[in-house]
């Protein structure tokens, strides 16, 4: 039994919030990075991530252990994001705050190389479906099937979103590099 499974078992059996806090520490970096890519706003992503972990703690008994715990968390996170996005008022706030936060990008991450910085900038130009599919499958290690389950999309849609998104990413990154060289 690995650390994660032991912590889940402790949190489930004894309602041990310390064990769950350890799980939060283990997964917060990925969940928040995913939500930042979707919401394009660090404060919103943090709020959604907090909601995600709190509802995960409350729904922990509903985690059957069939899929990975991380996939279960990502599904809750994505559902929270979808719920957030449905509010038209909130959606209008995203653009305003995105411009402010991109300048402080370096301070937010554990480490951020220039390549990762370019990638994060490029990811923001993809649509939500492309960004989410690529993030889940290529950045956070989920299978196409898991991503389809998390995003509640057909498997084929996830695969085509990844292909389309990666092609766009290449174009954007090449363009960004050309602009950097020119300046």
């Amino acid at each position: 039994m690995n650390d994660e499974q032991a912590l889940i078992k402790r949190a489930l059996a004894f309602g041990d919030s310390e064990a769950f806090s350890a799980l939060v520490k283990m997964h917060q970096g990925k969940i928040r990075a995913f939500l930042v890519r979707l919401s394009r706003n660090y404060d919103v992503a943090d709020d959604l991530a907090q909601e995600t972990f709190i509802s995960a703690y409350r729904k922990l008994a509903g985690y059957t252990g069939k899929g990975s715990f991380q996939a279960w968390l990502f599904k809750i996170a994505y559902n929270n994001f979808v719920h957030y996005r449905r509010s038209a008022k909130r959606r209008s706030e995203v653009g305003e705050q995105y411009a402010v936060h991109i300048e402080v990008l370096h301070e937010r991450y554990e480490t951020l190389s220039s390549e990762q910085y370019d990638l994060e900038k490029a990811m923001r130009q993809l649509n939500e479906q492309e960004s989410a599919s690529i993030s889940l499958c290529h950045s956070f290690g989920h299978s196409h099937r898991e991503a389809a389950d998390i995003l509640q999309l057909p498997l084929g849609t996830v695969k085509s979103s990844i292909l389309r998104g990666k092609a766009r990413l290449r174009e954007i990154l090449v363009l960004q590099a050309a602009m950097e060289q020119a300046s």
């Binding site: 919030s17 806090s21 939060v24 917060q28 970096g29 990925k30 990075a33 907090q50 937010r108």
Partner: protein, 130 residues
């Protein structure tokens, strides 16, 4: 970046490699905030539920029917009335005694009203805290 993104002959896609190393958000107190949130509302909720359960158990233990509750309330009101008369006899012997009697007679309604106000206050408090 341009050359970096071209597929290398080895078959490794640089874009895939870059995507596979996502920049992760630094914790910076996030886990602590979540832990605080996990503890606080749960304890408050638990406290409210325990209090409600205790109240319910007491009511069930004391009364056999809603009619029994009403008659007990009436007896409680009469007891309070007697207590108030004993504590402040002068007040009721004085000219304003009639007013005092009126207040005491409506003590049952007052208790019920106070109970309702208390419940409403408690509900507002819980709503604000959660």
């Amino acid at each position: 970046m341009n050359s970096k993104l071209d597929k290398q002959q080895s078959g490794h896609d640089p874009l895939d490699q870059l995507l596979a190393q996502p920049a992760l958000l630094a914790d910076r107190g996030f886990s602590t905030r979540v832990a605080r949130e996990l503890h606080a509302p749960a304890s408050r909720r638990r406290l409210v539920f325990v209090a409600m359960a205790a109240c319910w158990a007491t009511i069930v233990a004391l009364f056999t029917s809603p009619q029994a509750i009403m008659s007990t309330m009436a007896r409680l009101a009469a007891l309070l009335e007697g207590a108030v008369y004993r504590l402040v006899p002068d007040l009721f012997n004085a000219e304003i005694g009639t007013l005092g009697q009126l207040i005491v007679q409506s003590s049952l309604s007052s208790i019920l009203l106070l109970g309702l106000v208390f419940c409403a206050g408690l509900a507002v408090f819980i709503r604000e805290q959660s």
